[in-house]
Structures are given as C-alpha cells and as structure tokens.
C-alpha cells in the first residue's frame, strides 16, 4: 500500500503532491519542509558516499514503518514515493511516473517549468498508475 507521492523540482520546491486514501493529510508548511529536506538529503547522501562507489544520491530509505523511494531524472526532478515496508517495484513506479511527467506535463503548452502541476490528464494517469479509486 502506498502512502504519499511527491514530485520535487530541481531547486527543492514541491510541485506535485498526491495523498493516497487512508493516509493523513500533511499541511502546506509540512509539504514545503518535506520538499526542502528531501533535496538536502539527496545532496548530502551523494557527498557522504564512500569513494569508489557511484554517487547516485538518495535512492531508498527503509524502516520498520515505511519505505521511501526516490528517483531523480537527469534534469534534477525528483519523484518520491512513500509506501509501507512490504511494497516492491517502487522504483519502477517512479520511473513510470517520470514517463507520464514527460508526456503530460512537459509536452503541455500551458505548463510553466518548475511550477505547480495541476492538469487533468496527468492526474488521471497518476490515478491509473497507483490504482487510486475516487
């Protein structure tokens, strides 16, 4: 089961947030903090990577209570999915979300880069991807 899905742009601003049914709603200041913390963690984890390993940044946080998967596109947009600890294939879903982002958001003439995403088409595909029931 998934809890939350976020998209954070390259300067650490949250541009898309999707809450799944049965999960507590974060308030807006929490969301802003989340975006900033996530990009900071991502940068830090790249810095503390032992030499000789690939500096890919934050990819996954696992704990007893949740699992957080982060996928970064080559342009620095982060797709982050928070789920329960037993979920598998989280990275695959983030990559799929990236595909929809590049289709429904980047090819949309009414989108301004690094701004909030509020498009029906994208919402629809995300709902389909994570099988969210209205």
């Amino acid at each position: 089961m998934h809890y939350n899905f976020f998209i954070v742009n390259k300067i650490g601003l949250l541009i898309y947030e999707r809450k799944f049914p049965g999960c507590a709603q974060l308030d807006s200041s929490d969301l802003i903090r989340f975006g900033a913390t996530l990009s900071a963690l991502h940068l830090l984890s790249a810095v503390v990577t032992p030499s000789g390993l690939k500096k890919s940044g934050l990819k996954m946080i696992s704990s007893k209570f949740f699992k957080l998967c982060c996928f970064q596109s080559p342009t620095g947009v982060k797709f982050c999915l928070v789920s329960d600890p037993n979920t598998t294939d989280m990275e695959k879903m983030c990559k799929k979300a990236y595909q929809y982002y590049s289709d429904y958001v980047l090819k949309n003439p009414f989108y301004e880069l690094d701004q909030q995403i509020r498009f029906e088409g994208f919402d629809r595909e995300i709902e389909k991807l994570f099988a969210i029931k209205q």
């Binding site: 289709d103 429904y104 090819k107 003439p109 009414f110 509020r118 498009f119 088409g121 994208f122």
Partner: protein, 192 residues
C-alpha cells in the same frame, strides 16, 4: 555524376514523423501564440492551419485522386475523411454527419482524441480553449482552396462532457458551415 534532388524522389513517399517532436513543436507554437495574445489563441491557430489545408488539397489530389477534383459536398467531405485524415493521423478515425436542422452544417466527429489535445490540458477550472482549432484551420483551408468556402470551428463534444468527468479524454467535433453559394451551386448542378 548527377546528384539526386528533391524532384527525383517519389511523390508517394510517405514518412512518419515522430509524435514527440510534433508535440514539442506544437507546444512551442501555442506558447508563442499565447505570448502574442492569449484571447486570440484559437483564431491564431486557425490562421496557421489555413495555408496548410490548401497544400494538403494539392497533395491529395496529385497523389491519390489522379489529378481529379471533387465537385460535390459529399465527395469533398469523403475526401477529408478518407484521404486527409489518414494523411495527417495515419488512421481513419472520424465520422461525418449532417446537422439535423440546418443543411449547410456538417460535422466531423473524431472517435478518439486527436494529437493536438492529447497533452494540452488547461489547469482545472479554467476556460476551455480547443487546440484542435489548428486542424479546423487545415480543413477550412482545404475546403476554401477547393472552392467550397466554409467556416470551420472546433468544439468539444458536449455529449462526451459527462464521460470526461469519469476520466475519459475529451473529443472534438469540427463544425463545417458552408456558404450559401455552395448550396446554390450544388442545387443547380443536380438539375443536369
């Protein structure tokens, strides 16, 4: 040795264009038009389409019609359905209907959403501009060049509105309103 030029190529050569590059180009066109004047977006797209339509007519008649032009409204609409649509979208997915009350109005309904509107969705709650006006412009240009002066507008299918809320993409209907002279000519030619 003689270099091969564009004139040596086969006229029937048909190459497919990458959909992604079309989306990006079209998206840039719309952004450019918005910078010009956002309220005029549909009209600007239509004007872009009109010269394209005239070229499409020439191309279809040369390639597929054996240089014969169509003379009746029905044949002209069939040309749009059977030749223009496959040429533009590589599939024949539209239905042509006549308006129930007015005989000078015809409608082309698409069966699935076209390329122009596939990714171009406005933020929720904002007015709905239809980017398929570009296609409407192409149809208008084609008809006008074939001496069937008409006004073509692209509107979202009202009947599908309920469906759209359930998560379906919106389809477009192209309303073709022929000028009176076309109908008069058509009536005259039927007498012979």
């Amino acid at each position: 040795m003689k270099k091969s030029t564009i004139y040596d190529r086969n006229l029937k050569l048909r190459k497919e264009v990458s959909a992604s590059s079309f989306y990006f180009l079209f998206s840039e066109i719309i952004q450019y038009s918005i910078r010009q004047d956002i309220h005029d977006l549909e009209k600007q797209l239509e004007e872009l389409g009109i010269p394209l339509g005239a070229r499409f007519l020439e191309l279809i008649i040369l390639r597929e019609k054996g240089s014969k032009k169509e003379t009746t409204i029905v044949n002209m609409l069939m040309l749009i359905k059977n030749n223009l649509w496959p040429l533009m979208f590589n599939k024949n997915n539209c239905v042509v209907e006549q308006h129930m009350d007015q005989e000078n109005i015809y409608m082309i309904k698409e069966i699935e959403p076209n390329m122009c509107n596939q990714f171009a969705s406005l933020p929720r709650g904002q007015c709905h501009m239809n980017c398929a006006s570009f296609i409407a412009g192409i149809i208008e240009g084609l008809l006008t060049a074939a001496k069937f002066p008409a006004k073509v507008t692209a509107v979202f299918d009202d009947g599908e509105e309920a469906k759209a809320e359930e998560g379906e993409e919106k389809r477009t209907v192209y309303l073709i309103k022929f000028e009176d002279e076309v109908l008069v000519r058509e009536a005259k030619s039927k007498k012979f």
